[in-house]
Each structure stands twice: as C-alpha cells, then as structure tokens.
C-alpha cells in the first residue's frame, strides 16, 4: 500500500497542473455555453481536488455507490446538453458535452492512463476554441493552455520528483520551442485547399452579423450597435474623400409596405461609363454567410470567381465562409445605365393600398409638372428644412411605417429615410431603388487602411434620371450631413462606442485610447492577412517568391514530407548521439558475440553479467569454453577496465568466434 500512496502523492502535482490545464481550456468556452456548464465543470474539478485532499492519496476501488453516482452525473450531463441544444452533435453541443465530460474524466482520474486521456481531452478542448475564434488572443490562450497541459504531462512522467515545478515548466516550454521548426514547415507547406474541407461546421456561422438581403425598419439601426469589423480596405494610392465612400451591397427593389427585398433577375449588368482615374484597393472581408463582395461604387474589375448582378452588386460564386481578400478597382465618377428599359417598371412598384398619404404628396408634386430632378430636390429639401430628426431610437412605427414616419414621428434612421424617399419617388413616377451597403469607415493611421465596421451599415437610394442613368441620392445626408462627412461615431450617442467611462472627458487619455486601439487593429489586420489569410493563393505567391517556381500540391506535399523528415531526423540524430555516449564500441561488439551465441540457443539474459554468462555458456557448450573465455576477458578489459587499446583484440576475437549451432562431435 505504501508505494501506491507515494505514487498518488506524486500524482497530486499532476492533478493540479491537469486541472489548471483543463480549466484554462474551458475558460474561452465559458462565455458561449449556458452558465451551469462551466459551473458544473468547476464543481467537478473542485470535488476531485477535495477528494485528493481528504484521501491523501489513498486509492480505493470505486464503490457501487460511486459508480452509480458517476452514471447519474453522466445522465444529467447528456440530458442537460440535449435539452439545451436539441442534439448531442455539432459544434456547440459537442463542445458543451466535451467541457462537461472533461469534468467527469477529471473526477474519475486514478490511473496513469486516465491522466493521459484527460490531458488529451484538454488539448482537444483547446483546439475547439478555434472553431469560434481565430484571433491573436485565442492563439495566445492556446499557447498558454498547451504549455500548462504539457507541464502536466511532464509531471506525469517524472515519477522520481527530482525536478521542481519551475524546471518542469521550463521543460514543457522547451518542448514547445523544439516544435517550432516543424510548425513552420507545416504552416508554410501544408497544402491549402479551397473548399468545404476546411469549412467550419454548419452552426459555426449562426452568430455572424451583417447586412441581410432584405430590409425592414430597425434592421440597420440594430447593426449600428455592433463594433464588429465587416471588412478592411487597403488603398494602393490615396484614400478617396469620405463623401464618396459608398460600399455597394444588395440592391432592393420590391416592397410589401414594410419589408424590402431584392430583384434576382439573372441578366448581365450594362457597362458603366466612367470618368477620371480609377481607385485601386484590396478588401479583406470577414466571414459572412452570404456570397456578397463589397466594393466602392462603381467597381470596374472583378475579383476571381465572382460576377456582377444586374444592378451592379458583386457576387462571389461561393459563400464567404472564411476571411477573404480580393483586389478591385473602382471609379467614383460614373454613369450607370439600366440593362433594359422595361426593367425600369420594377423601379416604380409600390404595394397596393399602402402609403396613401405619401402617394398623395407625390401626386401633388407630379401635378405641379416638376421634372424628375426637381422632384428629387423637393423631397430632399423637405427632409432638410422640415423638422426631421436623425436618431437611433425612433418611435415605434406600427401601421404604415412610411406614412407614419413622413407625417407623424419624423424621427428615423437610415433605412427609414431611404425607404420613405424611394416610396415618394416611385409615387411621383420616378423609378427608384434602395441600395444597402456600408458608408465611410474609419482610417487606421497605424496601418494606413480603412476599417469598415457593422455600425457603418447604410442604406441609400438610386433614382433613374434618364440620360444620367441611375443616380445615387442619400436622403440621410440631407438630414444629417455630418453623418456622411465624419462617420457615424459623431452622430451616434457616445455610449454606443466602447470607450471606458473614465477617459471620455479627458482629451489626452482619449487620444491615447484611440491610438492604442488603432495599433491593436493594425496588429489584428496583419494577423488576418498573413496568418489566417494564408490561403492557397498566398501560399503559391510565397513559394514562388522563395524560388519554388510553379507550385502544385503534389510538389508541395513532397517537399513537406521531406522537410518534416529532415526535422525529425535532426532530432533523432541528436537523441541517438547522446545515447551513443553510453553505448561504446565494446558493447556493440559484445552484443554481436551474444547474438552469435544466441544462434546456438544460448541467450544472454538482459540482467546477466558477462562473467556469469560466460560461465553458463561454457557449461552448456564446453567445446566453446576457451573462445568464450577469451572474448569475455577482452570485453571485461575494454569495457569495465576501460582499456581501449584492447578493442582491436576484442574485435578480432569476436570475428574469429564462429560457433556451430550444435556441439562438434
């Protein structure tokens, strides 16, 4: 019993490290799963430590009650997870199940094998965090957690307890460092394949926010609360003025009075006439569950694998499931014609029997004999001069949202202005449509690029002015021009933007805060570009750059295997070399001798000394006794008296030693 006790006492350090590693692995998931799950995990872990504390290493066969208890806990977990997610598989349910089962595994950790399994569960848990987040922070967290888990494994393998905790941590750290060459080889060379192989599980995108392909009041205002990055843009030359930064997204044509939806005609867009110089830039888009690619109005070149919709939105051939980088060039000065004039009828559609007051007003304008241009201006000046307010928290519009907004509340956000304006235009006989997308963005002075966040989501209108084609009209600009000029941050109530309370009124601190956040975003951008955005295109570019020439995946795999083998061989060489210190030549020779004897059926036991073996062998084969004696004496001299000069004699003696498999008669 004594030794078991000491073994278990020894395991205590492992247990602590392992619990720490598992807890670290659970931490990032804790915010995503229901509160009871991390709480339950923690309780199980504390319970395990408490058992360790009270039992002081005594080991007991689990009693019937203990086994029953575990079954009950298991049942609770399975039922709980199923109840929460409606399934036991998939990303979210799987992770939740894993977190809880890790707690149970910790609880039943007893043998060495249990500890190993728990360690591997911990490592897998750490990995699952990447299904949710691939930020620098997630990577740093992973590094920390893996270090702790490897330390637990070092503990597990150091049963003599000769080394202290700090040294163990150091060993774990150096093991991780030793893995760096392999990591680099794998990162650079592992074939990146475009396609579903690398896709995340289906539910991975459920939480992504962004523009929708339909619009109803309140939708964009919701987005404007989100600080999440939609995409980042690097301009190759100068950044155009803020008032021309309209990032075109879905174009909405049809309205049922509340909701606006797209017109999915499958015809090609008419060629845009452009003037002036193009703006060239690269967009790095965050994942969405749509196939839209955003570009500055009006794009003239297409990224790979994409096409224009009939209303000049760029659509990708596949859904943007992961971060994507593409280069586009656009002209900010353009004339956009309509593909076919019959299509203009769609720009006059109004839901039957809705918006009577708006229709009446527009009728009035039309009867005054105004031209399209004049009608547009009348509407804009109405927004501008009458008491319209631009607000994030408009009063609730229950019945006819357009009429109520235009004539009663007069408080609205972008989508209200855009939809009311388009309704007025259509009622007045001017073809119009709503364009959704993003407007503006904030410049990061550190990285010299533009960040477009969800809160920059915007809706504006396009009206058909005959010769001039589709012309962009932004009714929001008429009400809150500063919103277009300076970005949303000034138009929004301060509380929306995440600035800590204490520094809001302190200009110096605010400045510092801004600079730090710029720097962080720049770092993030680089991470996204070079680490996460290292796709097969970048890989090809990079490999070309370092002189691999034309790369295909076969070539890449070959090089990958070769380099990995090289790294592993280097490690092996190092290990074998240190081992050779103990295995001197005499032993190698002696082993040959033993092998020869073993062919005669005389096998040396691993713990049999040379003299004992010689005696035994001679008694079995008296015909060989002289030769055996000679070899053994030489071996003892070279190996145990370290007379290196006898090594040749030993070599010679062993060469001459050719026993026949049965005694000569």
């Amino acid at each position: 019993m004594n030794s078991l006790k000491s073994t278990l006492l020894a395991l205590r350090a492992d247990l602590l490290w392992l619990s720490a590693g598992l807890s670290l692995a659970v931490v990032p998931h804790a915010q995503r799963i229901p509160l009871w799950m991390p709480f339950m995990f923690l309780s199980l872990a504390i319970w395990r430590l408490y058992i360790e504390h009270t039992m002081r290493g005594k080991i007991e066969k689990p009693s019937f009650m203990g086994r029953l208890g575990r079954q009950i806990i298991m049942l609770v977990i399975v039922v709980g997870v199923f109840n929460t997610y409606g399934t036991l598989v998939g990303r979210d349910a799987g992770v939740a199940l894993l977190v809880l089962l890790a707690g149970v595994k910790l609880l039943e950790c007893q043998t060495e094998r249990d500890y190993y399994i728990a360690s591997f569960i911990a490592m897998f848990l750490v990995l699952t965090n990447f299904l949710y987040s691939q930020t620098i922070l997630a990577a740093l967290h992973m590094l920390l957690a893996i270090t702790v888990i490897i330390t637990a494994l070092v503990n597990l393998n150091d049963q003599s307890h000769f080394i202290g905790s700090r040294l163990r941590l150091k060993i774990a750290g150096s093991m991780l460092l030793q893995a760096v060459p392999l990591l680099l080889v794998l990162f650079v060379l592992f074939p990146r394949i475009d396609g579903p192989l690398w896709g995340l599980p289906k539910d991975a995108l459920s939480g992504s926010t962004g523009l929708d392909d339909e619009m109803s009041p309140g939708q964009i205002s919701q987005l404007s609360l989100s600080d999440k990055v939609a995409f980042r843009v690097e301009f190759f030359d100068e950044i155009p003025s803020p008032s021309s930064l309209y990032w075109r997204g879905p174009v909405l044509w049809y309205s049922d009075g509340v909701k606006w939806v797209r017109n999915k005609r499958r015809i090609e867009a008419a060629a845009v006439k452009v003037r002036g110089e193009p703006v060239k830039y690269a967009v790095t888009m965050e994942a969405t569950d749509k196939n839209w690619l955003f570009a500055l109005e009006m794009p003239v070149t297409l990224p790979d694998r994409s096409f224009y919709s009939h209303d000049m939105q760029i659509l990708s051939r596949s859904i943007v499931r992961s971060r994507q980088r593409y280069e586009v060039s656009s002209f900010t000065d353009y004339i956009m014609p309509e593909v076919d004039e019959t299509g203009l009828q769609n720009g006059l559609q109004l839901p039957q029997g809705r918006h009577p007051r708006a229709r009446a007003l527009a009728e009035e304008w039309r009867n005054e004999g105004k031209s399209s241009r004049e009608i547009v201006n009348t509407a804009l000046s109405m927004f501008n001069t009458e008491a319209f307010y631009y607000t994030l928290q408009p009063s609730l519009l229950l019945e006819d949202s357009v009429d109520q907004f235009l004539f009663d509340t007069r408080q609205g956000f972008r989508e209200h202005y855009a939809s009311a304006f388009v309704v007025l235009m259509r009622a007045a006989g001017v073809p119009a449509r709503i364009v959704t997308g993003y407007q503006g963005g904030s410049i990061n002075p550190v990285g010299e690029y533009l960040v477009i966040r969800q809160r920059d989501a915007h809706a504006w209108a396009e009206v058909w002015l005959g010769e001039e084609g589709w012309v962009r009209v932004d009714p929001t600009a008429a009400v809150a021009p500063e919103r277009i000029e300076a970005g949303i941050e000034n138009a929004l109530p301060e509380s929306i933007i995440e600035i800590p309370l204490g520094i809001r009124n302190n200009p110096a601190a605010l400045d510092l805060w801004r600079r730090i956040s710029f720097r962080l975003d720049a770092l993030n951008n680089r991470w996204n570009q070079w680490i996460l955005g290292y796709n097969n295109k970048r890989q090809n570019l990079f490999l070309n750059y370092i002189g691999f020439g034309d790369v295909n995946w076969q070539k890449m795999t070959t090089v990958l295997l070769l380099l990995s083998a090289l790294v592993l061989f280097t490690v092996c060489f190092y290990l074998f070399r240190t081992d050779n210190r103990h295995k001197d030549e005499a032993l190698i020779l002696y082993n040959k001798f033993c092998e020869k004897l073993s062919h005669c059926g005389i096998k040396r036991l691993p713990s049999e000394g040379p003299r004992d073996f010689a005696r035994r062998a001679s008694s079995l084969r008296s015909d060989l006794s002289n030769a055996i004696k000679e070899v053994t004496n030489l071996y003892i001299e070279t190996r145990y008296a370290e007379k290196q000069e006898r090594i040749l004699a030993l070599k010679d003696a062993i060469k001459r030693f050719k026993p026949e498999s049965s005694p000569a008669t």
């Binding site: 003599s160 103990h582 000394g609 040379p610 003892i636 190996r639 145990y640 370290e642």
Partner: protein
Amino acid sequence: MTASQENIIALDVQSRFERVIEKANQIILGKEHTIRLALSCMLAQGHVLIEDQPGVGKTTLANVLATLLGLSIQRIQFTSDLLPADILGVSVYNRDSESFSFHPGPVFSQVVLADEVNRATPRAQSALLEAMEEYQVTIEGETRKLPEPFFVIATQNPSSQVGTFPLPESQLDRFMMRLELGYPDGEAERELLKGRDRRELLAETSALISVEELRDIQARVESVFVADALLDYLQNLLDFSRMSTDFANGLSPRSGLAVLHCARAWALLHGHEQVLPEDIQTVLPSIIGHRLKLNQESGDSKADSVADVLIRQVPIP
C-alpha cells in the same frame, strides 16, 4: 607501481583472505558466502547487522572475524534495561586524585559485538548508533575518538519475537549490510554435531592479518577500477528502484555508495582489478535487503527477494 606489481599485490591480498575465509569456514560450517560478504563489508569500512534465529552462530561469526583480523573485540549484550552509560562508559570520582576519571565502556574497541541489539530500548540503541555514524562518542561534554578501525557487528533476532524494539529505518540504514545465516545444510550440520566445541576452536585461532595490513587493504579498496559503464548500471538500478511501482520507496544515494564500496571490496577480495556487474549483483541483496521494501501486491511470488526483483528487471547496459 606497475600493473604487474599491482597484480601481485592483488593476488597476495586474495590469497591472504582466502586463508582467512578457509579458517573461518572451518569454524562456521557451510557459510562461506556469508563470510565473504561480511569480510567485504569490513573491507568497505561498513558495519554489519546479522539477523537470524538464536543459536545459528551469529555471535560466533562476529568473534571469528574479529579474531582472524587481529582486532580487539568487546561484546555488549543488549537487554531491555541497558543504559547508554553501559555502552559508552562513565566518569567515576577518584578519591586519590580528587577528580573524575573516565572508565571507557565496551564501545572503545575495534570490533563491538552488539548482541541482540533489538532487545534494548531505543535510547540505548541510539547510543551505539551515534558511535557508528560519527566514529566518536561524546560523554559528559567531552568528545572521545573511537579506535581505528571501528566495526560494529550487531546481531538481532527477528523482530517478530517477543520483547524486541525493532530498529527504525533510519538506524537500519547505518548498517552497510544485513546478513542472514540460516540453518546449516545437512552435511555441515552433521559435521558440526560430530566436531569439537566451536568455542574451543575459536580459542585456538589466532590473527592471520595484522591491523596495519587490514588498513592498507581498506585503502586499496578505493582504487579498484570502476568504469563508466558500471556506474551506468548502478545508476539504472537506483533509478529503477525509485521509479518502479514494485517498491515502496527508492534507494538513497547513501545506499548507492554502499553498493559501490562493497562491490569494490568484493572484487578486490576475489582478485579482480575492476568491478563487474556481477559484483554488484552479488553484494546487492545484503545491502538493499533492509533498505528497500517490496510492495505487497507486486512481486511474482513471495520467494522473490527485493534484490531479485530489482536485478531481474534492470538490464545491464
């Protein structure tokens, strides 16, 4: 000194000790291996604990060894009322000189035969065990050196017997070797029954080796060659004892040193110039027997000694 000269001396040592062994073997019949082990332990300057049933010749063995090596011997019979002063000695007031004069106890002797050491109270035991460790005793504030060489040969009855105070592990560790004599085999017993009284035989024997020669040989033990390969083996043994779940505790560095010393003495005793793994394997059982404990569950059968388990599982590198 050239190699051949060294060889001659080695042979000389061997032949002298062969005579000692031969003579001892005539008195204690059929226990040659035990005698050899005890002698190597003495050459390695270690103390010996002999543990066995009463009446198998423990005391005789101690006496024979002391006599043949020409060492002075004092016997202390340990009893439950033995006091430390009975071992170390006392200062007695001398009326003539009007001062205290020290009367040295039996511990001031080259060989101390501590008979039935586990029958005394721990207090009395510790008095002797201090002397074993320090090679000096402190009595009434005055430190007195013990004679050189100084050996303790303790005998003890199996602790299962009535009226014993088993030695704690820390004190057992002070004995380099623990030997068991065991019953003589049939032939030896027959001869014993036929032969003369052992005590008479003992009285007739005289020293075969002088104290100076003994100390000279003790010094030569250190020069027996130990190769790195052998140290690897010894280290593997120690490591294994610490890592394996077969044992309740690991071997201490001190026991490692004891094994190496004894293996050297054993090699010297047998005329070898270098230590071989076999030498380690031979002395190992008596050195680790009282230091290492087997886990009850492990071990293939009860007959396996601790050393067997250890030796069998550690390959010779």
